[in-house]
């Protein structure tokens, strides 16, 4: 077995704030293999984006990584310890090199006063030895590739002249032009209409195949995950509570939280089933519950509620690929 492209081990990240240390990510571990799409799902405030940003060291200055945290990037048979890269020059290996990122809000991701073309050329010239003319050629080629009509004219336009869907396409073009090994897509379709979302998802799938990239796909929409990911990690309050292949997690969810998320989703093929919300709200990260972090909202704990309140569940392994952090799963109580 070859080493995974990126391996995250026991990542714990806290933020220094006036109210004390806030734990945003707690002992999170996952691997992404080359060419694989990992979906990261969770509600707002669950730590999805912060986890993704730590892969590129993009978190704010008040962030503190715990001693044991490790992020190992394997490129060209060399291991890079991402968290030990402190100087911007060293971080070039990851930023714009091996990893690119697409953000949620396509309007906020482009500089408003510089043309789209200049922004694409600028980053290509920083990250490679291309001349301006070559960079321009490649940028226009990428714009064509993501389906932007009249790319040569569009190249000289500003972000406000693009529609939302087109901006997100341009963002994809820009992120892929440096040929990264891993693309982090942070809610790339959330701000888009469903019809445009379908186009962007289709485009991303094509490109993964073509460039043989890995993607870390962050979203709160399980439908989008079902359509794109190979494997899924479900996050809740900074912890990964369940991981597995997309079929395992969607078709036989083993964690009560995953089941809750699936039940609260309106389904078109079953209009009679009631919508069941996950009761309560996600607790404040300043005040993390003891024991199982989900116990304050869990409706399935029943007899073992006391155990859930006090004991932290360990990942129980269903089989090699499907892991769950829940006391119930241990007892073989799987849906």
């Amino acid at each position: 077995m070859t080493a995974p492209l990126i391996s995250v081990k026991d990542l714990t990240l806290r933020f220094k704030t006036d109210e004390g240390l806030v734990t945003a990510v707690n002992t999170v571990s996952f691997d992404i293999a080359s060419g694989e799409v990992l979906g990261l799902v969770g509600e707002s405030g669950s730590g999805k984006s912060v986890t993704a940003k730590s892969l590129m060291m993009l978190n704010a200055d008040n962030s503190v990584y715990d001693e044991g945290s490790k992020i190992i990037l394997n490129i060209d048979d060399r291991e890079h310890d991402v968290l030990s890269l402190k100087r911007p020059a060293e971080q070039m290996i990851i930023r714009g090199g091996a990893i690119s990122m697409i953000f949620q809000e396509p309007m906020a991701s482009f500089a408003p006063a510089i043309t789209i073309g200049d922004q694409m050329v600028e980053q290509l010239m920083i990250h490679s030895t291309m001349t301006r003319a070559e960079a321009r050629e490649i940028s226009i080629e990428m714009l064509t590739r993501v389906g932007i009509p009249e790319p040569a004219q569009r190249f000289g336009q500003y972000a406000f002249e693009f529609s939302g869907g087109m901006r997100q396409r341009a963002m994809v073009a820009m992120a892929l032009s440096t040929k990264p090994r891993l693309l982090i897509a942070d809610e790339p379709t959330t701000a888009l209409d469903v019809t445009i979302q379908a186009q962007v998802i289709e485009l991303m799938k094509d490109l993964v195949k073509e460039f043989h990239m890995s993607i870390l796909f962050i979203t709160h929409d399980l439908g989008v995950i079902a359509q794109t990911a190979d494997r899924v990690a479900v996050m809740y309050l900074g912890n990964i509570v369940e991981t597995g292949t997309v079929r395992q997690v969607i078709n036989s969810p083993a964690h009560p939280y995953t089941r809750g998320l699936l039940n609260s989703l309106p389904k078109l093929d079953d209009l009679d089933s009631p919508l069941t919300p996950v009761p309560g709200d996600i607790p404040s990260p300043l005040d993390r519950p003891s024991g199982c972090i989900f116990h304050t909202r869990c409706v399935e704990s029943g007899d073992i509620a006391e155990k859930c309140r006090t004991e932290i569940p360990v990942d129980s392994i269903d089989n090699a690929s499907h892991q769950v952090a829940c006391h119930l799963a241990r007892q073989g109580d799987q849906a």
Binding site: S264, L271, P274, T276
Partner: protein, 329 residues
């Protein structure tokens, strides 16, 4: 057939833009020739992409957008209001009867007012209560309905999560005792787990109090679960309207079909079956001639580019604007 609470007849809302050079002044045709009837006590869903004019239509029904053409008629008990000409005390009366719930619960609540003051404000502004005690009783009653407790009323909005804030917005809309509520993308900003909770609350209010809802959303699956009747909007026009079940079982407009198939399926084994819609919604300043959907329609033919399709009834209660619905159904 039950009573119609509010109806739009051939309603158009236009926003003139400033002139560019010489020639005619460009106009944004946000809504054009809309005909809808919302029955008393129903949960009416309005769905469409961004830029289709859903919000403008909702606002026109509240007299919060200019009515350029056609009329909006509100009928309840023995009162009939023509919103186009409504003003003075009658407009004030209408404001009590029609309320709005906004999309973003973070922007809709003043950060400097306590929850109690936020909910009480409509009562005070409209002069619906005569004493502070009366106001407090009413606020408590409504807060209880929206599952906010006394402790919550003393706090400021920043202390609440998205779902709780949306419940505060709902309480504020309900407090004046309205007959008609426009909920504009009221769950779009919420997480799915919380969204279900707010949808259930809105449905409960509609069942218990008989308030009529116009529910605006871009999400067909949310609409399918909450509404009795659905109208699909595209570029300022309604292209299909039907009772919910009928719309999903006998989809007759290619745009509705495309919207349905664009919803990502929850089944990982059903991938890539989407009937993809190419391109994007055209500008409402210069809509395409003929059927407005013809630039993106996979079935478009010559006739669609020249002739505006008629708004016709397919079966009882099911209207569609497409030349070729029979062949599609």
């Amino acid at each position: 057939m039950s009573d119609v609470l509010i109806r739009a007849n051939n309603l158009s809302v236009h926003f003139p833009l400033s002139r560019v050079g010489f020639g005619e002044r460009p106009v944004v045709r946000a809504c054009e020739g809309i005909n809808i009837e919302i029955e008393k006590g129903s949960f009416f869903g309005l769905v469409g992409e961004s830029g289709s004019g859903k919000t403008t239509l909702g606002r026109a029904m509240l007299k919060a957008a200019p009515i350029s053409n056609g009329e909006v008629i509100y009928t309840d008990d023995d009162i009939t209001y023509d919103l186009g000409t409504l003003k003075g005390p009658e407009l004030k009366e209408y404001r009590k009867r029609a309320q709005l719930i906004f999309q973003d619960p973070y922007a809709a609540l003043s950060p400097r007012m306590t929850v109690r003051d936020i909910i009480a404000e409509p009562l005070e502004v409209m002069g619906l209560t005569s004493s502070r005690e009366e106001t407090d009783t009413r606020v408590r009653e409504i807060a209880d309905l929206c599952r906010l407790n006394l402790e919550h009323l003393r706090r400021f909005p920043h202390a609440f999560s998205g779902g709780q804030r949306q419940r505060i917005s709902i309480a504020r809309a309900l407090v004046s005792g309205p007959k008609f509520i426009v909920a504009d993308e009221s769950v779009a900003a919420l997480d799915v787990s919380i969204q279900a909770d707010v949808l259930n609350l809105l449905n409960k209010i509609q069942r218990d109090s008989g308030i009529t809802f116009l529910f605006i959303s871009h999400d067909l699956s949310v609409i399918a679960h909450t509404c009795d009747f659905v109208a699909v909007m595209y570029l300022g026009q309604i292209v299909e309207a039907a009772p919910t079940r009928k719309l999903f079982s006998e989809t007759s407009h290619p745009y509705t079909k495309a919207l349905l198939s664009a919803i990502p399926s929850l089944d990982p084994d059903v991938r890539g079956h989407a009937q993809r819609l190419e391109g994007e919604i055209p500008s409402p300043i210069n809509p395409p001639p003929g059927c407005r959907f013809n630039t993106r329609c996979p079935q478009a033919q010559e006739r669609c580019r020249s002739e505006v399709p008629e708004w016709r009834e397919m079966s009882s209660g099911h209207h569609v604007a497409c030349h070729f619905s029979e062949e599609l159904a």
